[in-house]
Symmetry: C2
Subunit: 517 residues, 2 copies
């Protein structure tokens, strides 16, 4: 079975986000890069703009088809975190003849990797939750409005219980006690029947609020409640318990549920909470691209959209690659990071799954599912955050997600394999390394890395970053060697050397020559 | 469970092809068209070259991921056909770091359609059979040769039983009777054990041949046999029975099994048998593209490759759209065609599944799987072929796949939605309709079909075929009106008319201006 229908879980998601201290996310994609190879697309001396442009061009035609969300709520009393993990399978199911027929690329190595991890593709392709981006949602809303004004209003629309009213034990005024008790009895009767709804006597908004508060307090184990008006009768719809963390799209769902998974992203966005991910640039790009709008061409515009959608991001790979962690952690891939953070000088954090939600045993091998990876990412964040507390006087064992100690890591997304720019700074201008020790060398196709080492053998240690098959960047270890290298090349015929500054200037001029698109 | 490992079924496939009178095939793809819409890509006045170019450009990046093969063997004695149906799930699993990392497109409408039919995507992505095209096979062969010459020859390679020796009851010379009986006893013991192999006493090639003949004769129900040399001991590997028509890729398979599914296509090709399909142009293009070589740019070259791979093709959709069937059949989609061919004046053919192979009940709703569609296609072919026999004197109830009556339909593949060219002629030049009643009209973006009807209202009935949003072909019902229409348009400013001949000439000139690619 495939867990519970998506619509029935939305209220759980909303509540989990609302009560959380921070959120962790992870996406699985149908592929990473449609270029010849990942390494050909990531040059060690890319500028942030170049890297963004490459990822946008070569990665956005893949599908983000599994989204993991793990919410972390700190329980002060027991000094532990309580998690709720969700695994969403996502598929752009076309709704009707006018809805867009999405095409996406699959990369066989990525698919094969997921297959080897036991990934269930039927959950994506047969039961995946659909979604719409902002523009599509607006279009559908228009269509639906039109229909609605044509038809008489008949079938009821569900009105979700607002997350804010699920807190605290209920105080029921005396005059409503009888009414509330009758409702509670009816709901309790559901446990031993196959019914899932309770007809309500006519009641006021205040009475409904009392119902929600009472039921959430009496049945906290994943029970959730919503009201629905069908043919003028208000019914109470009760979902007894959350058994799996997988959610699927059910056939009976309405056209106006088409916004589908995008609602979850909207809720994350609106919450304004800290969103943690591991090596999360692609996750962020895909999320915005699929659920909000096509990515802008310009990096600056992308940063602005990102700040709107995710006002507070934190990348655990960047955190782990930054002091004081950098010297203590030698492998920042998620699985390795998690292992190291369970050992001294770090401390494994106290984490427990909320009742009805899946709990993971990190010591055992687990399926590679997005919810699990999100959970592990959140775990890593907690260990690192708490470690920062050990530098305080007096030391603190618990550092909250809102602590000033975390702020230096906000909104900086790890940039893979760039030599001298560790992160993309979403909230401001990027680092501008001088690169005045860098040469841009052009040469015949036949040349190999060894030819470059030979050519520059007089200048000490060098670092080669290939651009294409006839050019590369060569970083010299000493900047004062640059002029000498330039001079030596003056009369060379088989190769050509430019300084990095000359190269950038040349590209800029070329760009200006092109008509704007 | 997923049927039996692909390697174990190859021998069954070879035998089925070898003994068949004709073959029927069908493919399922991850999508049909990556253009804006299928209709935008198929103009009613496309030339065969244009249509081929469009299909090549907009359809070949999808994956053919299920291939159905149904072999039909005529049983003279019982006057019935015996079928063997195979469903192959296909996936380009990368073997090692040097093997190509294939990217393919999925179209959500196609995926959703298959999902609604109960298609099992895990069979494709987790258990799909890999394949190599000719070039990749050659590369791998080179690599393997290198390795082989380096290593000592140790592990045995399976030597498949050649299809030709599976015929006829065995005549066992007296001096070998004891030996053969001992083998038969050992094999019979397998039926009541979990063992799957039998160790052979040392024996000659002739004795092995006797084993094959005897076993195939004694156990015809899908039992198959192969020998394998492991550590110098010859083992007899026996697969007891074929329970499902699905075949999967098993983990233990060797690198030199990487040619995988391509072997099936090679066998079909080598057999030279009649291959029947329904609306099969895309099937043929995908098959060649995936398992032989990238499609040539030129239509003429494509025809030549196709004749090499499939020397004898027959398209049931084209057959059903041609006289004498055209007037009797009003819907040529596969499901509708099948229904009509079960009723007068046609006759439902006598068909039976071979023992151990799946049998289909056409009266019941069936999963939309490629093997079933291949079966139905073959069924339609038989009904139509037999119907042709009713015109003979004396009438014949059975017309074989080799009959002269079928020849007019050979190698003509149905062309969808072209007004005046019903088929692509693989074995020769295409029909060249004059199209001297056709005008090419250019107009402002705002125009709709109704504007064209209005413009040509004086010229009787017209047919409009849109080219893009500012041009269309307009076919007049009478050719003598063309000159009048041309004259009227001479001083028009908002639109422009050319004859079809002028249009083609213009395109030709444009093409010549472009540098060859
Ligand atoms: N997220 C992300 N992954 C990339 C990118 N470029 C390549 N990859 C691939 O993603 C893999 C994951 O890397 P990493 O995050 O360090 O390891 P993980 O934390 O264990 O997933 C790499 O090995 C690359 O194959 C990129 O820009 N972003
Ligand atoms: N095989 C094939 N299918 C196409 C082509 N162009 C579009 N299609 C799609 O394939 C569908 C199948 O058409 P048809 O063969 O007539 O019906 P079927 O026999 O029931 O599958 C059409 O409805 C189109 O959506 C094409 O060139 N070849």
């Amino acid at each position: 079975t495939y867990g519970i229908p998506f619509k029935d879980c939305l209220i759980l998601v909303y509540t989990a986000i609302e009560e959380a201290d921070f959120l962790a996310i992870d996406g699985e994609f149908s592929g990473i890069s449609d270029g010849p190879s990942v390494s050909a697309l990531t040059n060690g001396l890319d500028t942030p703009e170049e890297r963004y442009t490459k990822l946008k061009k070569h990665s956005m035609d893949f599908l983000l088809f599994q989204f993991g969300l793990c919410t972390f709520k700190y329980d002060q009393k027991d000094a532990k975190y309580v998690t709720k993990t969700f695994n969403f399978y996502i598929f752009p199911k076309p709704f009707n003849r006018t809805s867009p027929d999405i095409k996406f690329i699959c990369q066989s190595s990525s698919i094969d990797f997921l297959a080897s991890q036991g990934f269930d593709f039927n959950k994506v392709f047969c039961h995946g939750i659909p979604y719409l981006n902002h523009e599509e949602e607006a279009q559908l809303r228009e269509q639906t409005e039109e229909k609605r004004s044509q038809q008489a209003n008949g079938v009821g629309t569900p009105s979700y219980i607002s997350p804010s009213c699920s807190k605290g034990p209920a105080h029921v005024p005396d005059e409503h006690k009888d009414f509330i008790n009758r409702v509670v009895e009816k709901v309790e009767a559901l446990f031993s029947s196959t019914e899932k709804t309770v007809d309500l006597e006519p009641c006021t908004g205040f009475q409904r609020k009392l119902i929600y508060q009472t039921l959430n307090w009496k049945f906290p184990k994943g029970l959730h409640v919503e009201t629905m008006e069908i043919d003028k009768v208000v019914k109470l719809n009760v979902c007894l318990r959350l058994l799996a963390c997988d959610f699927y799209w059910s056939k009976g769902m309405q056209l106006n549920d088409a916004v589908g998974f995008s609602r979850v992203i909207h809720a994350i966005s609106k919450s304004g909470k800290l969103v943690v991910g591991h090596n999360m640039l692609l996750d962020v790009m895909h999320t915005i691209h699929q659920f909000y709008c096509p990515l802008p061409n310009d990096l600056q515009d992308f940063k602005e959209v990102t700040m709107c959608v995710f006002p507070r991001l934190l990348d655990t790979k960047l955190m782990a690659s930054t002091q004081p962690f950098k010297d203590l952690i030698n492998n920042t891939s998620l699985a390795e990071l998690e292992k190291q953070l369970n050992e001294s000088p770090f401390k494994a954090p106290q984490i427990e799954a909320a009742e009805g939600f899946p709990s993971y045993n990190t010591a055992k091998e687990q399926l590679h599912e997005a919810g699990y990876d999100a959970y592990i990412t959140g775990r890593c964040f907690i260990s690192m955050a708490n470690f920062l507390g050990s530098f305080l006087t007096p030391p603190k064992a618990y550092v909250s997600a809102h602590s000033k100690l975390i702020e230096p890591f906000y909104n900086k997304l790890f940039l893979m394999r760039i030599i001298d720019i560790p992160y993309l700074n979403i909230a401001g201008p990027d680092l501008q390394p001088k690169r005045d020790n860098v040469l841009y060398v052009t040469f015949p196709k036949e040349w190999k890395t060894s030819d470059l080492y030979q050519l520059f053998s007089a200048f000490g240690n060098i670092q080669v970053s290939w651009v294409d098959d006839t050019s590369a960047f060569v970083s010299l270890s000493q900047t004062d060697q640059v002029q000498i290298a330039m001079n030596t090349s003056r009369y060379a015929e088989s190769y050509k050397i430019q300084t990095y500054a000359e190269y950038i200037q040349g590209r800029q001029q070329e760009k200006e020559k092109q008509p704007p698109t």
